[in-house]
Each structure stands twice: as C-alpha cells, then as structure tokens.
Symmetry: C2
Subunit: 365 residues, 2 copies
Amino acid sequence: MIEINQPTFVIDKKICLRNIEKMAQKADKHGLRFRPHFKTHQSAEIGEWFRSFGVKSITVSSVKMANSFASHGWDDITIAFPLNILEIKEINTLAKKIKLNVLVENREAAEVLTKKTTNPLGVYIKIDTGFNRSGIAASETGSILYILNSLTEGKHLEFKGFLSHAGHTYQAKSTNEIFTRHFDAVFKLKALKNRYLNEFPHIEVSIGDTPSCSICDNFDGVDEIRPGNFVFYDLMQQNLGVCTFNDIAVRLVVPVVGKYISRNEIVIYGGAVHLSKESIVNINGKPMFGRIVIRKNNEPVLLEPLNYVHQLFQEHGILKVTQRDFNNFQVGDLVEIIPVHSCLTANLAKSYLTTEGEVIRTVHS
Amino acid sequence: MIEINQPTFVIDKKICLRNIEKMAQKADKHGLRFRPHFKTHQSAEIGEWFRSFGVKSITVSSVKMANSFASHGWDDITIAFPLNILEIKEINTLAKKIKLNVLVENREAAEVLTKKTTNPLGVYIKIDTGFNRSGIAASETGSILYILNSLTEGKHLEFKGFLSHAGHTYQAKSTNEIFTRHFDAVFKLKALKNRYLNEFPHIEVSIGDTPSCSICDNFDGVDEIRPGNFVFYDLMQQNLGVCTFNDIAVRLVVPVVGKYISRNEIVIYGGAVHLSKESIVNINGKPMFGRIVIRKNNEPVLLEPLNYVHQLFQEHGILKVTQRDFNNFQVGDLVEIIPVHSCLTANLAKSYLTTEGEVIRTVHS
C-alpha cells in the first residue's frame, strides 16, 4: 500500500464504475449513443473502464486530447470545442487515422473546413440553447443555413447534426430548473432537427451536460449524450442536487501542517496547484473551495459545512473549522477534501491513486 | 520560429533578465543574501538565468520541488513551507546531499525534527508578521522559546533565524500600505533577532514577498530576501502598484475561436486549465481573469480594462470587450492575455516559449 505523505488525488474505483454503469444503462434504455467526455479524467486507463461497458465513441475538448486518446486506440472521437481554425493541419492528420467529428459555429470556421479539409470529417453545428458561452442561437436560422450550405460544398465533410452543451444547468437553483432547461434545450434542438430532416435523413441531436444526463429521464428526439463529470462527480454537482455525497468518487488527500486556535484555522499542504481555485458559495455566504472528510476510528466522517476549505494559495490551503471540530485535526494527520470541480482538480494531478492502492497515470504524467 | 496555434505561455526573456538583475543588484546594494523563490517559474533553465547573476541559494515550496532543483545542481535550498512531518524521510535523504533548510512553526514539527533528523539541517522559525496564513505570531514568545529549546536538543539541527512571508502586502490598498506592512514586519523580526542575538550570534532574518522586495528600500536588520513572482510579475502586481506593465514578462497567447456580437463577447481557446481561476476585481467591480493585448500593425496594444477575460471554463475563456474594440478580434487571431497570477498560470504550462522562439522546459514537462 502506498503511504500518502503529500497531496494525492484518490479515486474510489467502485464508485467510478457504478457511475459509468448507471449512465451506460440509461443511454441504453433510451436508445442513445453514449459518447462520454474524457476531459474529466484524461486517463487512458480510466478510458478502459468505459470500454468494459461497451463505450466505443468518446468526446474530448481539444485536438491535443483527441491525439492522446487516438494513440490509445480510440477511433471515434468528437472534439466538442468551437473549431480552432489554426489547427486545421493537425485535424486533417488525425482525420486520416480515425473517425473524427468537429464543431462549427461560425462562417469563418465553416469556410476553412470547406476549403482545407483533406480527409473525411464529421461536422456538428454547435447550437447555443441558452448557456450563452458559444454556439449559434437556435433562432439564428440565417447563420445556420449559411453554414449548412458552406459545409455541403466541402467534399470531405459530412454534416452530422446539431450539438449543444446546456451548461446553464450548472447555474440552476433547483433540480426543477435543470429539468426546465433540459427540456427547453431539447425542444430547440428537435425543432432544428425536424426542419432539416428531409434534406439530411441521418441528422442527429447530441447533448452534453452532466446535470441533465444524470437526473432527466426524457430524451425524446435526442440521439447522443456526452456527459463527462459524472464519472467522478463533485461538490458542485452535489450542491446542485444532481448526485449525493455517496456518488462522489474522488478526494484530494492532504497532510495537516499547522493549527491556529486563535482563528479556528488549519493549514494543509494542498493549494491552488492541487485543488484549483474553483469555488462555490458556502452556507455562510463565503466562497468555499472544498468540503472536509476526516477519519474517526478509521471510518470517514463528512464534517458539517462550516468546516471547509476557506482559502487557497499556491501550495497552502486554509481550512476554516468550527470550535467543536478544531481538535479533530492534528499536525501530521491526513484529511480528505471533496473538490468543488473534479475536472479541474483531476487536471492538476499527474496521476491518481485508487482506494485499492493502484496508481493510475493521466495524460499529464 | 514556432507557429503558435494553441494556448502558449510566452516569456520575454529580456524582461525576465532585467527583473532578475534589478533584484540581484538591490540585494547586493543592501548586503542581503538573494535566495529567490523558484516556485514561480519551476524551470531548471530559468534557474540558470539566476545563476548568471551570482545566485547560489534558492527557495522552494515543497520537498518535491527541492528534489527537482537539487537534481539540477542547486545545493543550498530552503523549503519555505510549514514542515510536513510526513515527509521527514525524504527530508533526511535530501539533507544528506545538499545544504537544506526547513521551517518550523509548531511544537509537533519541532519535536519530530529533534527526534528524527539524521543529517545536518538548517531550521528557521516561521513568524506570522500579520498575514495570518501560517507561522507563530511574533508576540507568542512562549511558543518560540519552546521550539527554540526543542531545536537545541536536536544534534543535527542548526537554528538559522526567523523567517516571514508578509503576504498581506498583496492585500494592500496603496503602495504606502505596502511600505507600512513591510516596516511593521521587519520591526517585529528585528526585535526577535535582537532578543536572541547573544545566544545565537549568527541568527538571521529572512523575508519574502515580491511587493516589499520590489518597492521598499529599507532592509535594515534583514539578512535575506526570497521574492519569487518578480521574475515574471503579473496583473496582480501591476494592480498593486508594484510593477508597471512593461515589467510583466509573460503572456498567455491564445487563439480566438468565436465572436458573439449580441453580447460583445469573444471566445478563446484558453481556459482554467491554462490561466488558472485566479481573479482580481476589474474597474467595473466584476472579477477579471486577465487583461488583453492585441497586435495592430504587428505592434502590441494593451486594450483598456473594459476589454478583459470575464469568465473561464475548463478550456474556454470568455473575453468581454467594448463595442469599439469588438471588431479588432477575428476568428483565427492570436491574442495575448496578461495573467492575473503568473505563478499559477506558469504552473499549468508544460513548457514556455520565449519571444525569441526558444522552448523552455519546466519540471512539469
């Protein structure tokens, strides 16, 4: 067994497998293609866990990540990120080797694809269903038509359908609001699909966010789901009501290095370079960078929310703790932090450790 | 010349060298040992730049980083982080090979050092001069005495002096406040030094923060400075009045992938995994994750602050731009982001590119 003595990203493999199985079964039940987003774990080995549930196609968020997973045998990849026209050469090279899909959402990108694509390439039009991050609004039918026309001129291009990431479900104030936003997104995408169904009989609708995919149960008109975060889940998802604490598969395990009774603070070796500075608002209205789990008689105990990661520096983390729990922390203890956003925390780790003691390499190792 | 087509951390080597030279000269002028903090750049190659200015001793923030720089020939290293007693074995191993200093700030750590150190080890007592992150308050003379007594029992331990990081200069609201906090910190440390000077005639005072070291000019009683950030500087330092824009040596260069005229937003390929989610408050009261520099006739132009990095996702960044500047951005352009906190942004890069086209490896590559 590896002895932890510095910040370590620990994974409960059983929970991960359960999360994957549950989502794979859901996709199956609704006749959806399950194309999980691999940006969350960025590990070839965890990729294999998905394969054991029949997953054959994946989503990534950069050409770099696509190349990395292609080199591990994945041959059906969607790069779910607005096309970076500066990487058209790299996209052509990869499209020679595997079934590759990209997204377009503006005329400039469509024109570059039409003119410069040298190998068969699938193209989704990215639709903004209300998140307002990227994509064409579903109502901008002029732009959509322009792009569609442009794409049909590219002899290597295959228009696949409409794709969206309803990331505004992350800002929902209740699970009801997640349902509403999901239905609204699907409604818009279905309308687009129906509009072009005659012309493109194989047209698809692809949706992506973990909140909708986790809790919604109506996927009528949808062909593909691309959730990523669900493999680990995190505090943000738990806070949204999307998962329970028991579904969160990851912890950052960190050593306690200092105690400050005058201000009820504990200093841990574990900072922004381990957790990332992603925060949510705690019940006291303050930003919180993680919840705390300690061991009592070797059993994990989740402390109440007024014990939390209060501040992060490069390598230091400050835990604000209650007077009642202060003495549960001793210099040299290991404590477990539930990360706010597991994708960003995982991205900072060179490797993960499973609760069974297995070291899992990531693309960063 | 390397063609940039994805988020790239670019360094102006001339500015870096000028920043190093200026600080080295300042240390020299005031008779201070210059022990720069290498957590900012984490690169063996940039380490060599410091060597060319006579630097022989360095600061790091973890045992891991100490090992990494020791393997590149650095043989006088202070780990400026509260002692992690779980790494005592690794510390002993490293102390066999090089001149190593650690910090203690509590009785538990002092006792572990006294009992378990097997090789000569320098020890500083970490003093909290008002930052309230870690360290013993200068007024807690009982704890200081206890630790001192404990240390003198350890036959391999050499008490070096008092060390502080006046990180509260980062929260200063004016450069005057930086001066005040610096003087206050030095005053407290000098008092401690004088108190123990008879017993420990070689006792030292070591201070660390970039704001004080950059703008203050009175280091009476100080023996060593350990600034780190000054090698790159960043928006946070500029915002504090510690440096000018011309002193900031780094940019994150990113491609533009989308434009959204209805909300005056630009989407870049460059997110939290490239910039980090560190923010400061912009003039409009909103969090800002970076300022924007564009090229006009191949000359860099710093845009006014209402053009800024407004939001960061894993790989996407959203620029909020003014109506006037909106058309200065085209899909496929490269724009330069001045990072808020260069240490965290650099930590996310596997390598840096100099403006001369040289690739610089980091410990993460």
